[in-house]
Subunit: 225 residues, 2 copies
């Protein structure tokens, strides 16, 4: 539940294929984004397409990406109002239809279009970096000390508005043409579950440092990451 305006289709985000799979609530966009760990960033570099998997964070209606100031793709994306297309998709199950044609996956997918803004304000830069660690483990980004000046100097933080976005979900049983069901071929759905395993320590840690509660509480728990 959110007071934010619903997702308004634009020419690019209007779903042409299977429009009934589109969701229109902004809270559904947030849910898909908040359940992920990697986004796939599409950019155009020298006229050619590039797809870069990146970690990200979200604060309100802003997606934060960061990378090295030497990251060519990210730097290129900040030049002259270049646009990005960002996708986050979770595969929840294999859709094993009883015909080859109707094989698919059950998924939740968010698509965002926009121009990136280089974040220069120190507070917003830090908030953007914290949001990325919070995305990995809720609360962790807020508990850690800020990066050093040297680390900050190497880091480019960019922001992408969630204004132009769409959400698409496939759920449930396989589709099938009537003649597919005249056969004796099995079809169904094979769910995939993801869980966090036991963490292990960075061997370079000082002795006696224990795993914090924000991590131990996740062990054995399902995740969509």
């Amino acid at each position: 539940v959110t007071d934010a305006p619903p997702l308004s289709p634009t020419k690019r985000t209007r779903l042409r294929r299977y429009p009934h799979r589109g969701l229109s609530e902004r809270s559904e966009l947030y849910a898909v984004l908040d359940a992920g760990v990697l986004c796939y960033v599409g950019a155009v570099a020298n006229g050619s397409p590039r797809v870069i998997p990146m970690v990200y964070g979200r604060i309100g209606d802003t997606l934060y990406l960061h990378g090295s100031t030497k990251n060519q793709a990210l730097v290129a994306a900040t030049k002259g109002g270049s646009e990005l297309c960002v996708n986050v998709t979770h595969v929840d199950a294999l859709v094993l239809a009883n015909s080859l044609f109707h094989h698919s996956v059950n998924f939740r997918s968010a698509m965002i279009y926009g121009s990136v803004r280089v974040v220069t304000d120190p507070d917003e830069r830090l908030a953007g970096l914290r949001s990325a660690a919070n995305q990995l483990v809720a609360g962790r980004g807020d508990e850690l000390p800020p990066p050093t000046e040297a680390q900050l100097k190497q880091t480019l933080v960019v922001a992408l508005s969630l204004e132009e976005a769409s959400v698409k979900v496939r759920d449930g049983a396989p589709g099938g043409d009537p003649e597919d069901y005249e056969t004796d071929i099995w079809g169904g759905v094979l769910p995939i579950s993801r869980v966090f395993e036991e963490p292990w320590d960075d061997p370079k840690l000082r002795d006696g440092i224990t795993v914090p509660e924000h991590v131990t509480r996740l062990v054995g728990k399902p995740t969509t990451l």
Copy 2:
């Protein structure tokens, strides 16, 4: 182990960032691709970037994608030698460094660049479609009857050569600057495991159809999908 030539870096696939994470064996490219279910296809449409998550299949050094003949992004990618960039990445663990700056993920990532070829030969079209179902569940694509003529007419099958590709892997403990280890902050790695759950039947199946062995043998088994 493969007799295929190793991955030869091109201007685009040479790793500029963390080149030590690059793998050079073609078998390592195959392993990353074969462990996945979705690829992220980057294309340029009207000068703007697009990222489309798609299922795929692999036969030898060819990646097969398919979609509706009405899939605008896929159709656009077949026009006039347009290039694609395809990425497949698996997240194996969260890298929870003891400093904000060094947070990351352990991953295996394949990147492919190339122009797509529209597949017109009926045998290769069918093989490409079967490869996509085999990618979901090994052997399933080979066991199912071919699509109907009507289904085939709605389907665009395209091939992408794996000639220009790179593989990048991050594994192991967090990185960290020496001063990070002067603190009492915990850092470590939180692995994620994925398993197949019990399948459920398409409710539209005839009575008495049982789940085939190629599916039952996966239940409870780990997957990287």
